[in-house]
Structure formats: C-alpha cells, structure tokens
C-alpha cells in the first residue's frame, strides 16, 4: 500500500511555484499601479479631465465621452487593482521571512497608494475583508472614510519599516531602485529615502483630499505630518518603460495592439494652454504629418467633426501610437510638480508655513523641465500667463488660492496624470473651464463623478452594495460642480 501511495503521490505542480520571494512580487505590485495610472485610468482621467477626446475617425472610447458606461467596462481595472496590485502587496507584507523590512515598507506604501486609486475611483470598496481568499468569499464594502483611515495607517506602518536596516530590494523596485536616498535633504545622521518622501507626499495628497469633506481631520493630519519634519518628493516617482515589446508604456502598448489612434486633443485643455500662451501646448500635443498647425475639437464632438483632422497627444505622454517614442514615456505615480502643488495647497490653507506662490512656481518649473523646457521658459510663462503670477497675486481667499494652485496643477498633469487631475476636479471643481461633453447621454447638469462598480463583483459578491450612478460624487467629492457653458 505504501508503494501505491508513492505511485499516486505525483500531484505536486511542476509548472508553478507554491511560494514566492517578496522581491519577486514587488515589481508586479508596481507594474499594476503603472497599468492603472498609465493606461486604464489614464484614458478615463485624461478624457474626463478634458485633455483628450474621442477621435472622429475611430470609436473605441465613444462611451467615455458619452459618460455612458457599462459595469463590465470596469472589470479589468478592478481585477488589476485587487489581483495584481493589492493581493501581491498583501502577500509581501504577510511573508514570514526576516530582513525584508524595506521591501515590506514599500509594499505597505504601494498598498496605500493602490487603495487610494481604488477608492477614489469607486468610492466604498472592500478592504477589511478583502484579500483573504476563501476566508471571506464575499468581502463587504467599507465606507470610503474608513478606507482613507487605513491608507493613513498603511503609510505610517510603511514608514516605520523603511527605517529598519534590511535587505535592499535594488532593481526589483521599479520606482526608485530600492534604498535610494535623496541627497538634497539627507544628512549623515538623518538619511531620507525617496520612499519616505513618497510616503509623506502620498499622505499629504490623501489628507488634502479630505480638505472639503472633513477639514478638521485634514488639517490635523497635515499639521502632524509637517510637525514630524516630513520631506516631500523633489523628483518624479515614476516607472520608466522601454521599447521592448511588453515593456512599453502601457497606454502605447494598448494602442499598438488596437492599431488605431482613439484619443485626440480636446479644445478644453487645448484652448486653456493657448490662452495662456503656454509653450507646453506643443509638448503635450503633436501635429499629424498632414497638419500645418495644431488643432483640437470640442470635448465629445466626434460625431460632428467627422472630416476634421485633429492633433494627437504627443509621444512624450505615451498616447500617440504613430510615434515610437511613446513607448518610453514614463508613468508618474506621483510627480515632482504634484508634490510642490500639494505643498502649496497645504500652505495656502494655512496648515503649513511657507510661500505658496513660490511652491506653486516650483511646481510649474518642475512641469516645464519634465516636458523638456527650461526653468527660464517656466519663469517667462508664469510671469505672463493669465493663470500665472497674476492669478496667484489676486488670490485673496483660501478658495481663490486653491483655485489658482489646482488650475496650474491641471496644466502640469496633462497627459501624465489624467486620473489625479480628474480627482482634483471632482474635489475642488477646478479648473472651472471644464465643460459637459457634447456627447453626454446622462442628462443635463450631470458629470461623471465616479467609476461604476465592475460587473464581476455584482455577479459574484454576495455583499455587493448595489450600483451607484456615475454622476453621484464619492464621499470626499464636491457636491456642486458647475461645468462651464
């Protein structure tokens, strides 16, 4: 009988390992965030933030401009978030191995980052019972407020772990390359990792997100952050892609697979750049070979512009399938510019000390430099643009200061951080020149203010809370946003 037992004992899977070293899971967590920020949410974000609109000569994203989406549209991003991003981050954190503190620290911070992406998109999402396999076969949905509490918690735990001396994940960390320190602020006695700066900047972003819905909490959180002596990002936290097939910028990779250019310049952002004489216009958009000048069409006007040749987003931002340099466009999880604009807002709200205009200007400069322009170009622009120095100088109230900051942040995020730009629009209502897509099918006065829960949850989760219409704001969202006429 022992012989029989041995004869039958062949069910060990030779094709797949049943354990994984945390350093091998980390790149997956980060690449998932890259796919979401750089592709799935990149398309929605850039279209709903009105940098881009559907091309009149293709059709893939018509429903996005129509605000007319089905739940199945969100199956894939939800899957990527939970099954590529969050679960692997969670498995790193739960790994019993020792000496892995730095890797686990990154995993905590990426988990916080990914949960923020998830809740900002969908509102209430599974967290406390999520990622436990059969333990909770139907995870309940947690209130967005609680999800944010967990985000703060994960960031704090991550920061603690980063400080413990441990194995350097090195190149397995696609964002910073492991235990890299920021030479600008590190001292021999106080070493500051880029990851610590990332954690602080993320925390600042998350608290400011609550500035409208729970100002007291936001203020306390931001103040405590500054009180701890937090340093913020001065470089882009980005994943760099290559021209190698499968390693390309995710949006470019997607477009090549589709074999067609679906997104073109939207007049909303395009005209705002133009009105400010912004040299970044020519960086964020690109002429077609048979075009003599850049041009754009009104958001959602693909049906009436069928014969117009419209400019494409540039290769710089990864959204031009005819330009091979799109392949190497980075995906910015948090940009240096964003870091400065967040700090500017903290100061403008009086929750931190400093010069909010100088910080905003640093944000503008960081954006210019990132697009290949010079700091001098930034200064010239800021001095002359109507949304530049003038607007900042005239900002007499916190609200106007925030308006000036978010408007500049909007310009800086064009093509790179569409989703975050749409988030800030939903939070603040700025910039105030966004219109209602002319293709909208969801009724007058309505805007897309969240994403729909995926069909896969509706059909498989017993605790599915029910669909929420696309025009209902999330918990932290501003309840009254009036689009420009």
């Amino acid at each position: 009988m022992t012989g029989c037992k041995k004869f039958l004992d062949i069910n060990q899977n030779p094709n797949n390992p049943d354990s994984a070293d945390p350093s091998l899971l980390l790149p997956t967590v980060q690449a998932s965030a890259g796919q979401i920020v750089g592709n799935a949410f990149q398309v929605y974000g850039n279209m709903w933030a009105q940098y881009w609109t559907q091309s009149p000569s293709s059709s893939q994203y018509k429903t996005i401009d129509q605000y007319n989406l089905t739940n199945t549209s969100f199956d894939r991003p939800w899957l990527t978030l939970y099954r590529n991003g969050l679960i692997n981050a969670d498995l790193i954190i739960k790994n019993p191995g020792s000496g892995l503190e730095f890797t686990k620290g990154i995993a905590y911070i990426m988990k916080a980052y990914t949960y923020q992406l998830t809740t900002d998109a969908f509102g209430d999402v599974p967290l406390s019972q999520a990622l436990q396999g059969n333990g909770f076969g139907s995870p309940k949905y947690d209130k967005q407020e609680l999800v944010y509490d967990s985000i703060f918690n994960y960031i704090d735990r991550g920061k603690v772990l980063l400080a413990i001396n441990s194995v350097d994940p090195g190149a397995q960390d696609l964002v910073f390359g492991g235990r890299k320190t920021d030479p600008a602020v590190s001292t021999p006695t106080n070493i500051i990792f880029y990851w610590t700066e990332f954690a602080n900047t993320l925390k600042l972003r998350a608290y400011l997100r609550l500035a409208g819905v729970n100002p007291a909490k936001a203020e306390a959180g931001v103040k405590a952050l500054y009180a701890s002596g937090a340093k913020f990002l001065t470089i882009d936290a980005a994943i760099k892609y290559s021209t190698v097939g499968g390693n390309q910028n995710p949006m470019y990779n997607e477009m090549v697979a589709l074999g067609v250019q679906n997104v073109v310049a939207s007049s909303t952002a395009f005209n705002a750049f133009k009105n400010n004489n912004d040299p970044r216009l020519g960086k964020f958009y690109e002429m077609l070979p048979n075009q003599s000048a850049l041009n754009s069409i009104k958001q959602g006007s693909y049906a009436s512009e069928s014969s117009t040749i419209v400019s494409y987003p540039s290769g710089l931002v990864g959204a031009n399938w005819t330009n091979a340099s799109s392949a190497t466009a980075p995906v910015k999880l948090i940009s240096a510019a964003e870091s400065y604009f967040l700090q500017a807002e903290a100061v403008a709200r009086g929750w931190a000390s400093g010069d909010f205009i100088a910080l905003a200007k640093s944000g503008v400069t960081a954006s210019f430099v990132a697009t290949g322009l010079s700091a001098g170009d930034a200064t010239t622009y800021f001095t002359n643009a109507q949304d530049g120095q003038v607007a900042f100088d005239a900002a007499s109230t916190v609200e106007l200061k925030v308006k000036a900051i978010i408007t500049q942040k909007y310009y800086a995020m064009c093509g790179f951080q569409g989703f975050e730009s749409w988030n800030e629009y939903r939070r603040t209502g700025y910039p105030n020149f966004l219109i209602r897509s002319v293709a909208s099918t969801i009724g007058a006065g309505r805007l897309p203010l969240r994403m729909l829960y995926p069909n896969s949850e509706a059909t498989s989760n017993l605790n599915f809370p029910g669909n929420v219409p696309i025009y209902t704001p999330v918990w932290w969202g501003k309840t009254t946003i009036t689009p420009a006429p």
Partner: protein, 1069 residues
Amino acid sequence: MLFAVSAMAQQRTITGTVTGKEDGLPLPGVSVKVKGTKTGTMTGSDGKFSISVSESGAVIEFSSIGYLSHSRTVAAGNVINVSLESDAKSLGEVIVTANAIKREKRTLGYSAPTIKNEELVQGGSPSVISSLAGKVAGINVTSSSSTPGSSSRVVLRGGSSISGSNQALIVVDGVPIDNSSVIGGASVLSSVDFGNRGNDLAPDDIASVTVLKGPAAAALYGSRASNGALVITTKTGSKSDKMSITFTTSNTFSNVLKLPDYQNEYGQGYYDKKPANGKPETYTIDYRENGSWGAPFTGEILPWGQMIDGVRQTKPYSAVKNNVKDFFTTGFASDNNLSFSGGGDKTTYFLGLNSLNSNGVFPGNYDQFNKYGVRFNGTTEFSNKFTAGVSFNYTRIDANEVGGGQGAASVYNNVLQTPRDIDLPSLSDLNNKYNGYGFTDAKGIKHPNLYGYYGTYTQNPYWILQNYKNLNDVSRVTGNFNIGYNPYSWLNVKERIGIDTYSDRRRTLAPKFSFIDGDESKDQYPGNNARTNAGGYQIDQFNVTELVHDLMISATHKFNDDFEGSLMIGNNIRQRQTNSLSTATNSSGGLVVPGWYNLNNSNGPINIITDQITKRRLIGLYADLNLSYKNFLFLEATARNDWSSTLPINNNSFFYPSVSGSFVFTELLKNSSINNILSYGKLRSSWAQVGNDTDPYQLLTTFSKATVNGSFGSTVFPFGNVAALTAGTTLGNINLKPEKTAAFEIGTELGFLDNRISVDFSYYKSNSKDQILSIPIPNSTGYGFSVVNAGEVQNKGVELSLRGTIIKSSDITWEMFGSYTKNNNKVLSLMPGVNQISIGGFSGMTAVAAVGRPYGEFYAVTNMTDNQGRVIVDNETGMPIPTTTAQYVGNYNPKYQASLGTNFRYKHVSLNVLFDTKQGGMFFSRTKDITAFAGVSAETGGNRFGAIYPNSVIQDAGGNYIPNTTVGFIKQDYYTGSRPAGTNIVDGSFVKLRSASLSYTFTKEQLKRTPFGSFAVGVYGNNLFIWTPKSNQWADPEINSAGAGNLQGFDFTAQPSVRNYGINLKVSF
C-alpha cells in the same frame, strides 16, 4: 496424477475456435459438449475451447444463446473450428461492452446499441463521430463544418458536468483514447478548428461501435465514462482463412451547404441625409466601404475602387447575387483504404492502410487536410494455453486550416462584408494592381508599400488565404498488447497494456506588412488608410501520452442446468501525461524580417504563452458478477474502487457500484399464442453510481510569472532584467472529494411478428453532484476562482428506437427505422449563494449554468418586450429598446432529436437514406450580426427608411403598449449601431438529409472471370440538405466556433458547413 488419468483413458484433446458467421469475431461462452456424455466446456473470451474426447466418431455439439446449434463429428484432426450462424428469432446479438467484454445483448440491463461497419461508412463521412449522427437514440452529435478534420462532438444523454468534459469516452479495443479538442487561435474570436483527436480514427478500420449510454453500462471504466462511452472494435482477420485483400476508395466532392440570405437592392456606400420635408434621402458612394448601405441599384455603369495609373475601374451598379457563393469552390477529397486480412491455424492478422487527401471549399490549395494511417491487428495462440494479441495504429495528419472568427486571419469574415455590387471572385488575381497589396504601376515603378484593393476596412480574402497559415502536424500511435491465459476452461486471465501517444504541432503564420492606399485621386482615400501588421509566428506543441494496464481474471461456473454465473475481477492502472508548449514571437514586436517564420525572427523577447506538463495516475480495482437463470433472468453487479493522484492523498479513494437486471419475459410465454405476435420481449433496469476525480494540481494555490494585462495590451515580465511573480488566479482546495453521478434506467426491447418490428425504449434519470468546479469568486478576495465541490445537474429523458421490415423476400428487403430522443437537463444547485456560473462566451453573449435552468443557457441583454412578447420600440426612432439587464434568451440544447431512415435492397442494388432533426435549440450567430452591420443580409433590405420593426409596440400616453403601426426605423442607424447580443440568437432547429447512398454489388457469378472476390460500386453523400426555419437566414446551426468543447451554439463567423457527395468502390481479392 493428472497425467496418469489422461494416459489411462487414452483420450485426445480437440481444440478450436468458435466464431460468429456474420462478423467472424470469436464467440465467448459457447457451450461445447460431447454428445451423449457429461463432458463439456465453454469457449473463453477469445472463442477458444479445448475438450477431451475418448474416441473418433464422437460428436461435439456447439450451442449458444442467439445462435443456431451446430454439431461436428470428430475425425482425424485435433482442431475443429466452427462458425455459428446467428438465430434471428432470438435477437441474440452479441455486443462488446465495457473493457472489450463480449456480452449477449439479451443479458444486458441497459441500452447498448451497436453500429456495424457497413452502416457506419454508408454516408462516406471521414469522421467516425459524425457518422453516428441519427443512427441511435440518445446520442447527440454535432458535426460543425463536416469537412475532413473538423470538430465533431458527441454527448450521450445530455451534459452532466458543469465545467468538465461532457463528451463520451472513446474506447478502442479496450483502451480509452484521447479526444482532446483544443481550438486554435487566440480565442473563439479568431478561432481555428484543428478538430478533435477522436476523429483520428479511420472509419474503414472499424468493425463496430457500441454506444454505452449510461453510467451503468460504463461502470467498469469508472470515472472517465460517467458521460457514457463509445466502445469501438477494430477489424481483425479470421483464422484459417485465405488472405483477403480489400480496397475501397471514396472520392468526395463538397460545396457549401448554407450561406446567409442576401438583399439585392442596395450597393456600396451609406446614406448621409435621411428623407425629410418631402425630399428623398441622399447617399455617399464611398469606394472604401465594406457596407452596402448605399443607394438603390440602378444598373448604370459607375466607377469603383481606387484610382491607379489615372484610371478608376467601372462596373454596373447592380447586385452580384452570388458573389459570396461563387467565392467558394468545389472541394475534393479522396479517401483510400487497402486492407489485408486472414489467418493461419493459430493466428489472425489484419493490416489496414489508409489515406485521406482533401482540398476544401476555399479557393486555391490552401485548405488542405491530409491524413495517413496504418493499422495492424494480430492474434496468436501458443500451445501452452497462452494467447497473445497486438493492435497497433499510426496516424499522421498534415493540414492547413483556414482561420475563422473576426481576427486578421479570418477569411469568411472578410468575404461576408463584400458590398453586394462587387464581384468577389473577380478579385482573385492578386497580381492585378486593383486587387492586391504592393503593385507595379503602368510606368513599371514598383510600389511595394501601396495597396490597390478597394476596401480599407476589409482585406482581400484571397490575399488572406495566401498569406495567413494555420499549419497542423499530428503524429499519433495507439495500440495495445495483450496476453491471455486459459489454464482451465472456466478460468481466463487476461493482461492488456494500451498506449495512446501523440504529438500535435501547430504553427501559426501571420505576415508582417505595412501598406497604405495607393489611390491617386485622394478624394476618397486620404492616404492614411493604413493596413499594417507586425506579423507573428507561433508554435503550439501538445504531447499527450496515456498508458493503460488492465489485468482481468474471469471465471465461469454452471451451478446446474438453469443457473449459471461468472465473476470477473480486475485491476486497472492508468497514467496520463500532457505537455503543452506554446511559444510565439513578441506579442507587440512581431517579426523582424517579413516572411521568415521562425522564433529567431522575434522582434523583442520571445513570448512564452504556455509551458505546462501534467501527470496523473489512477489505480482501480473492479469486479463484475453475472448471474443468469434459465436464459431469461439476468443479473449483473459491478463494483469498483479507484485511487486517484489528483485528489488529496488522504481522500483519494472512491468506491462505486452498479447493478442491472434483465428479464426476457417472452421465454415464459413460449408456447402461448401471444408469442405469435410478441415474439420477443425484455424488460431491463439498472442503477449505477460513478465517481470522478479532477484535473491535476487543483489542491494548492500557486504563483505564476507576472503579466499585468490591460484591455488589449499588457506589461510582461521580465521587465528589462527584472523578473516577477504574481499570485495565482485560482485558489486551490486541499479538501476536495470525488464527484458522484448516480443514474437509474428502465427500458424494454420488444419484437413483434417474428421480429419484423422491433422497439427499444428507455427512460433514464441521472444526477451528478459534488461536482468539482472552479467557480468565479469576487476579485476583491485577491483571487478569481476557487476550486470547490458543489453543484448538482440532473438529466432525465426518454429514448425510443423503432425498426420495421416492411418487405422481406429473396429479391427485395425494405426496412424503415427511426429514433426519438428527448433529454431534459436542469441545473439543480451550484454553491450556496451562487446562482449562475459562466461556461464561456463572447461579445456580450454568455452561455451559463444557472440554477433551475438547463445547462448551457444563453444569457445576454436583448430587446425589451412587453408581456405578450412584442418588441418595445422607441417612440421617436422606432428602434427596439434594449433590456436593462441580461436575460435568458434560449439554450443550445435541442428540445428533442429524431431520425428516420430506410434501407432498401432490390437484388444487388441497395439504397440507404437517413434524415435527422434537432428541434428547439438556439444558437448565437455573429454571421447574422456582421451581415446586418454591413447591410448585406436580407433583413437589411426592403424599405430602409421607415419600415416598422416587426411585431413591435410603442408606449402610448397612458403607459400601455399598443401595436406599432406608425413609427418606422432607419435600418442603417439601427444595424450599424450597437444591437444587444440577445438579438443575434437564432432558432437552431433543423432537419438534415444526413446521409444517403446507392450501391450495386456484383454477384459471384458476374465476377467469375475476374480476379475479384467481391466488387461493389456506389454513390453516397452526407450532410446533403438542410431545412431550417424561416427565421434562420444565416447559417447551419451545427457550425460552432468553439469546436467540441462545452461552449456550443456559438457561430462566431464560423466556417460554413459543407455538403459532401461522391463515388465509392469496394473490391476484394
């Protein structure tokens, strides 16, 4: 001591073999007696006997149920071979049941119809599985395109497994063979039908097929036969027979059976202004278009296509009615078989050679299917009571399959979208500058990067045929070796080792190209209608090896004249090993050098799609007890225990029993007058349970190489030099237990008027529970699927076969037969809280297993209807309003099936005709969708502005639905827009002339001066005609894009099916 006794009696030992006269197969269990003595024995499973006689002149009597008794007087020799003639009256048919055990039909407690070779090959189909269609009740065969090498699926008594295979197990000479169906292409969306491996068998090598429908019949095969089994016996030679050489050749022509119905009123283009204020609509003629939404035909000569060398071609603006039909050509296949068979005193042999060479209905020599096979079956007896047999079969396939679906390689998809006024066959010359890709202009200047083909949204299908390849190379060996030992007449020991091993290598070639339109006018072709493809090369290599061992020890005992019994115990060990390796050039980079199809030509890292090996083993112990009383009461009980490697090691044992009985009640009425009418009557009943294991490696949760997918693209690791893993998709389950299927059957076989009329009826019910399912779980758990034991599926049904001989004389026999099958399938439960599991689906259409509904229900958004089933249309646009949620819109399983056939013989001419039908099933037709989108199908014709949607209602001011007589819809707006998937569900009912044949057999007299022993010539056909309901204007419902898998009824622009007809000839020497 034994020696002494035998020496003293001075006895002789007579040995021999008893065979059946009709098929030449050995007859087991024949009683062999020395007349007037008590000496007697029985033949073994190989038909052999050995008996002692004391003197010459003794008479040996041979008798067996179902055969006429026979006596032979012992003469000089010690060998007596006998062939018994069957006794038609007793219906004592001997059939091959589980484990190649021959049983007399009357003793069986379950339905087990048998189809003999002659009947199998009548229609000339090269597929054994397709040849079974309509021939027995309870069998559901779906033949897809009916071309050589295409898939055919066989399900007995409905599907019972939610996620596992539902096909019958195929057993050849006692050894189960693989019947994998791995559809080619990335998915059903771009499917390539490489067939299923069960069709590798050559029909000509087959002696008979017995259909074991229920689990009771198949209990001894255990787990894999829970869906029933096709028990195939291949041909053998006969002992002491001269060599007979037989040659058959079948030469088959084929053409397309059913194409969509077309509109012939409108041509290329689209409307740009609808009729308004008394003004008629206006149209744009768009030379690039694949749509036929243009102006009504006028017949005038108009330009079309691209302007090259300053010239745009012209043609009449009128319909080319047969432009799709004439694209297809007549296919031709030649199937040749040569066999040698015979035997010596102690040996038999059969050597069969066959070849099948086919060039299908697509133009040119691209859709090729070539199959070659050799089979050797031999048996020998040794003097020491040992016997041995060997069976060997080698098959090789070399083919190129044409791609279906909507991928770049799909020919049919492009054919269907040809505007009604364009003569597709005239575009076949790719050297013509207006037809091809890359051309030389009038000045002799080459333009390798320009194309002249008119379409910018479709490709020239002739060019696709020429440039895209799906090559297939299969090499397969199956066979078995067996040794028998007959120490005593009542004891038989048999050991059999079977093997099935094959390599299935597929290579997919996609060209690398980049063309832009070459039009000089630039008025309709602005110069940016690029046709590009990075190209690609993929190799899919599948290797499957299966080894089976069976040791069977059987003993028979006659307790007294009335009461007999036999017991068999056996041991079965099997191992199945699979190896799949799919590699391709980089998924985004494609090829570096066009035309060089080699992985070394990958533009970027090679894409390893699958690298998987699996191994599973199973040990089984079984017993089979048969008891018979007075030749009218029979009881069989089987028991089996399996130990499987795929289940948790402490829970890997499962036991399953079966019991069946048969009562031939007419034996009790033998002398009554009822017997004159009811000549034969039998009641039978059985109950069985079958256990089942699962696939390997379902117990643990694993990790895999990381790929982060977007909707179309993906981030693939290694990322530069960075490797990564990701949590697996499926949560394993360390607590799995075996699945269980319990089945009950009751039936009767009746023969009337000397068995001129016979009836076979069964009622059955089976429940499959604790199914091992991989169920979808919320992604928020971190995983996508969880392996569980859950679910119960029930099948209930009736089967009826009727056969009647209307005329029986020496010159004429005329026989009619028919069958009726009705299976009710229902999913009783799934998991707690889970009401529905997806079986698969595409384009918004899903086939599901839903609680309370039959397995395989279609589930999709469809048109909203009122409570009378009338379509609700929008008050302004007149277009149907879609439902807000998905609905159940039909099922692919037919409500019932039936067949009707006749065999007619007049002297040497025989005619066989078989019709079959499936009624009440539905199928999803993308052919419907795409032909409507392109404005070519009949439904898009007629009044295109303001026709009222059929059977539609509108809501009046009071909220009531009133018949719509006023609000018309614009067909172009509707059909080119997004219609819900549910509207592409089509009634799948059909009646087919499944097969017909007419043959003439020359008489011995006629052949006297020829070298031929026999000579027959005939014409035949299969899949000859189809009748579908009026509502099906698109396709043969049998075509299926997903091959022989569980996802059925999916016409995802699947290849059209073909009708086959030809001439055959059979000679023997």
